[in-house]
Symmetry: C2
Subunit: 347 residues, 2 copies
Amino acid sequence: MKEESIESLGEFGVIDRIASRARCLNKTSLVGIGDDCAVIACDGSTRRKVVTTDLLLEGIHFDLTYCPLRHLGYKAVAVNLSDVAAMNVRPQQITVSIGVSAKFSLKSIDELYEGIYAACERYGVDLVGGDTTSSLTGLTISITAIGDEESDRLSLRSGAKENDILCVSGDLGSAYMGLQLLEREKRVLKQSGSQTPDFGNYRYILQRQLRPEPRIDVVDFLREVDVVPTSMIDISDGLSSEVLHICKASGVGCRLYEEKIPIHEEAKRLAGELNINPIVAALNGGEDYELLFTIRQSDYEKFQSKVGPEIYAVGYITNAQKGTRLLTTGGDEAELKAQGWKMEVNV
Amino acid sequence: MKEESIESLGEFGVIDRIASRARCLNKTSLVGIGDDCAVIACDGSTRRKVVTTDLLLEGIHFDLTYCPLRHLGYKAVAVNLSDVAAMNVRPQQITVSIGVSAKFSLKSIDELYEGIYAACERYGVDLVGGDTTSSLTGLTISITAIGDEESDRLSLRSGAKENDILCVSGDLGSAYMGLQLLEREKRVLKQSGSQTPDFGNYRYILQRQLRPEPRIDVVDFLREVDVVPTSMIDISDGLSSEVLHICKASGVGCRLYEEKIPIHEEAKRLAGELNINPIVAALNGGEDYELLFTIRQSDYEKFQSKVGPEIYAVGYITNAQKGTRLLTTGGDEAELKAQGWKMEVNV
């Protein structure tokens, strides 16, 4: 029998292994490992704090060859705020820790923080703490984000019910196609020795990769139309993986319509050029940071009455026995698979 | 004129530079960068959340040649809990993010988490979230700790007043002497090729270096005797540096008595062997994770009436004009200097 290893378990396996021992003993610890954020109570208040954290490492999560530091700072904050938004909560505070190696100048740290502060200002978030240290190798960024909301407005992953409508905000697969574009240009630059990449008419997908925006506007809109999603998650690892997370946490099944999955024109165009199926990019590509959520059918009409961010119904929730299926444009049913993000262990 | 650089600014300079742009706009953000923790309010509650975060990098903060992973996990949690204790608050939750390179086996991750869970259990803290990722180089650990307390029991760095008594818990300089011992044994092992280090009769200082304990017991004792320190900080960078932090934040001066600084017998003994002045180890050594705090003179007798952890009066607060001075055993006055911890930039 092959021994268990980090590679054989994968990211989710390692997390499950760590989480299996975690117990919440303090009465303020309402939700622990397993959702987009932990949920923490405050005695005497009906409001809850939600907390999330991300660790970003050079060479794993970002490549400074094609990610300007300002964009990196912005993105590092944005992906954490997206996890707060995924609880249907507005973020209010972040802490930022950085480890920098000797190759970093003070100017490059300033650039990084330019981006961090730009994201804070855009989303009304306060930078309240952190840690600064030297590093032997490359740049390390660790961010923790905290949000604050009434307990009855929180959306966990676990509340989806049979017949709920499965919704996504924005469009999917663009960030992945943006990454393909960057990698193609990196190869071209290496071969040609040129300094100036040619991104052609692909500004949108490039922006989606380099500067994702957390969908706080969707959280605001849901409050405005008085809808609390029965479940919610942000799409960081691809639609398939996230739908399966909701179904597993909620103990339900689903039907997802391939034809309803929103894909941007530019993503389709580059996918055509590169011979990639854009649906696969949307299902497995990741890094879109859109919101996936379920709502009661009775809430759906509230969306129609108000102008707001684009929200698409892409499927519905079934009981668990019916499984988790994609209904293809060709009329077939395919089992949803969580490709998601794998630990890129460098062996 | 020499251009500003990371080396010339040092850790505190870089933090000041980052913090100078930080604004707290949300009304729940009560205290931002500059104390041991940020302080966050919850609407409708008199309780406060305090939040702190630390980033630990292999080769900078720990050396796996002489730090077993179990101890490292324990220590990584302990130093964060110490920051919460330094607000006079009991910690309740932590998140833990790790980046691991391919050289780490699943067994070594298990060992690390053994230590993390051991600290959680000892201090009644819940592990509620985190992030797990691969790394190109070595081990990265990022921990965020959260505590919860009534607002009128919090101790910031900024509340020290003239005539307050300056107190420290436990003893100082032991962790630094423990590190000297480890480094000596590492050199000896390298030279002799032996596998078994000889730590002789130095169990206490070794323990202080490898397995520091946050002084939650002091926080509990202060509650028991109904004392709220007027200011507080934990001693991570050496007594000098921390005294100066309190004086600067509070706008006061101080007199510190060299002869009152508590130093353990073992620390004195090894200091003698290695020809180190143990007072220098206490003033500048760091990593003791004891608490330094100021109390009103009228509160001092409350300490005498109850048996509790060792707390020593080491000096008193003056007005700012009188400066920050060490009164030496020989009867001299010396200016306190913050050697503290410097960014170990590898140039």
